[in-house]
Amino acid sequence: MVTPNEEIEVDREKGNFRFQEEHKYDAGVGLTEKTIDYICDVKGEPDWIRDFRKRALKVFESKPMPTNWATKDLDNIDFDVIRYYLAGDNRAKKSWDDVPDDVKETFERLGIPENERKFLAGVEAQFDSEAAYSNIKESVGKQGVIFMGSTEGLMKHPELFKKWFGKVIPTGDNKFSALNSACFSGGSFIYVPPGVKVSHPLQAYFRINAENFGQFERTLIIADEGSEVTYMEGCTAPKFDTATLHSAVVELVAMPGAKIEYVTVQNWASNVYNLVTKRAIAHEGATVKWIDCNIGSRLTMKYPGVVLKGKEARGEVLSIALANDGQHQDTGAKMIHAADNTTSNIISKSISVGEGRSTYRGQVHMPKNLKGCKNNTECDALLINENSRTDTYPAITVRGNKNAVQHEASVSKVSAEQIFYMQQRGLSEGEAMSLSVNGFVNDLTRQFPMEYSVELKRLIELEMEGSVG
């Protein structure tokens, strides 16, 4: 382990660097059927995917922007100047030695190969539209665990892939799920056979390197009966002058008794529109836990959900959002109870700094015919300085009287007196702020995998240091 100070030196500019782009494949700007044909041809995809994509394009075009309930900032996305597919190579490498030097250096600076050696069972590293590197530890592969890119998954394991692809999140779920369905590339396909417990996390890293670019990864994770898996994703992009779009779709399927933990620590540059749809189906006795940390981006809209389809299934969303100057974190959770004795837990913590804005949207649905369902929702917001803003929109629909719901919300402020108190002990203003923010999220981050709570703590420190004028 390097010393924390060294890490901070590396991190200060973390993500904000780029190399000259040299893309062998470039679909050009704008999205038409031709773009889709280009993507399908490069990838060598079967016709059913081509049809799927083209249908999705029509859905995307027909759906209005959801500005009736969401921010008007969405209208600033210019879909005609975005490049929808950019790849240096269309096949991921199994060894870092085979990855082109500039790409390899990018991931080395982000610490990916080092983390892989230290604590991961497998890594997929996506650079713009395609994974540059994808590998799984031999011991994990031998247990029958499949971990590969979405394209490889749909070609090599069509029977598994087709069964669940687009079933958890249908194309028409929302405008951006339709967009992703039309032009998805990259992301992970994971299958864990019955009873297999993957001892170490699988990690994906999503890197945007190109300007005017849209990254549309698609992830499908299937944990078969009684299996367990933890998947972690990290994301960065350099700071460009123009907006970049990241619009992923992530579908999780937890078969009876399975456990999936999905951890996201994103650190997007402040001009990325991050519009992501994430949902899981939890069958009988299964548990799905989303841990979602949103730092950076211009606008994030993301509401991880769990459809609690089988009895005694459990869903959990633990989320942290940090909205700094000029950023809007519009995040939340969805819990759809669809069987008896299902339980869900939502804990959301948001921090708004400067002119930053955070919004919580939660949906909890329990129909009348169910019994023994429980939900606990806690939303805590922390405001740092007077101009920041937080809104909470909980939508809890509970019918019948055999279910229990609990909702708590709080808003607190880091006061000037608190900062002064800490400064009087010798902490700089930035240190004082990051300490109070870390204190605010502490009870939540304690539940995160250790490597990620350390990472998060550091990102918060960097973010807070940067916010002090």
Partner: protein, 255 residues
């Protein structure tokens, strides 16, 4: 002059109102001075202005620590220069444990490329806690969060013991304390007395000075010192009451 805390002609305002008026005072290292005075006379303003609170506007004057004027420094820099303020109303920092808070404060005193050694830190922390008769479980509680008045003040004294300031200002440390808590806090302060510490004890009541016996007592009224004397002055003040102070202030103003 070095080895002193020197406050020279300090003028401080809040908004349009001038609170401290050419306030001057010198505390040599190794001594404990007390400032007594009625409410609203500027005692807490003095403490906060010295520490660099942004709401207090210092219009002129200096605060000199061992020869260096600290008035141009930020609050955190003043702290690192060796000035400690024990707050009358310590702030809560939810989610940040006492152990982590003090550690962060100590780390802030180290060069950028150095980090506190954790086992040594805890050894030192536990030793100070034992000295202050503080339960070790205390360290895992969030700073001042849900603390009783006595716990908050003990937490202040623990921080002071760990940060080892050159000069400490104790602002109404006796407020909100019952007599047992007061004794414990006073014992803590007394245990730190010595040639490496100068202390300024601000209090409204003489009671605290039974336990922290000062070398010098200053009586403050309307933004300035109106009388200074040995520890017996506190008793005199107690018996004569603050009306006497007003008379003294009249004499000072007339002189």
């Amino acid at each position: 002059m070095s080895n002193t805390l020197e406050i020279k002609n300090l003028n401080v305002s809040i908004g349009d109102k001038q609170i401290l008026k050419d306030f001057s005072l010198t505390v040599p290292k190794g001594e404990v001075h007390a400032i007594m005075g009625p409410n609203g006379t500027g005692k807490s303003t003095l403490a906060k202005a010295m520490a660099g609170h942004p709401d207090y506007e210092v219009t002129s004057g200096e605060v000199i620590i061992d020869g260096e004027n600290i008035m141009e420094l930020e609050a955190d820099e003043r702290s690192r220069e060796g000035l400690f303020l024990a707050f009358q109303y310590p702030m809560e920092i939810p989610g940040v444990t006492i152990a982590n808070f003090i550690r962060a404060a100590l780390n802030a005193r180290l060069p950028d490329d150095e980090e506190l050694n954790a086992p040594d830190y805890y050894k030192a922390l536990y030793a100070k806690m034992d000295m202050l008769k503080i339960d070790r479980k205390f360290t895992s509680r969030s700073v001042n969060d849900g603390f009783s008045g006595g716990e908050k003040k003990r937490c202040e004294i623990l921080q002071m013991a760990m940060l080892e300031p050159k000069y400490a200002v104790l602002d109404e440390t006796d407020s909100g304390l019952d007599i047992d808590a007061l004794k414990i806090v006073a014992e803590g302060v007394n245990s730190m007395r010595g040639e490496n510490l100068g202390a300024l004890v601000i209090t409204h009541y003489q009671r605290l000075l039974d336990y922290i016996v000062p070398d010098v007592v200053h009586v403050m009224y309307d933004g300035r010192i109106v009388k200074s004397g040995p520890k017996e002055l506190a008793l005199e003040l107690e018996s004569k009451g603050y009306e006497w102070v007003k008379e003294l202030a009249g004499e000072v103003a007339a002189s």
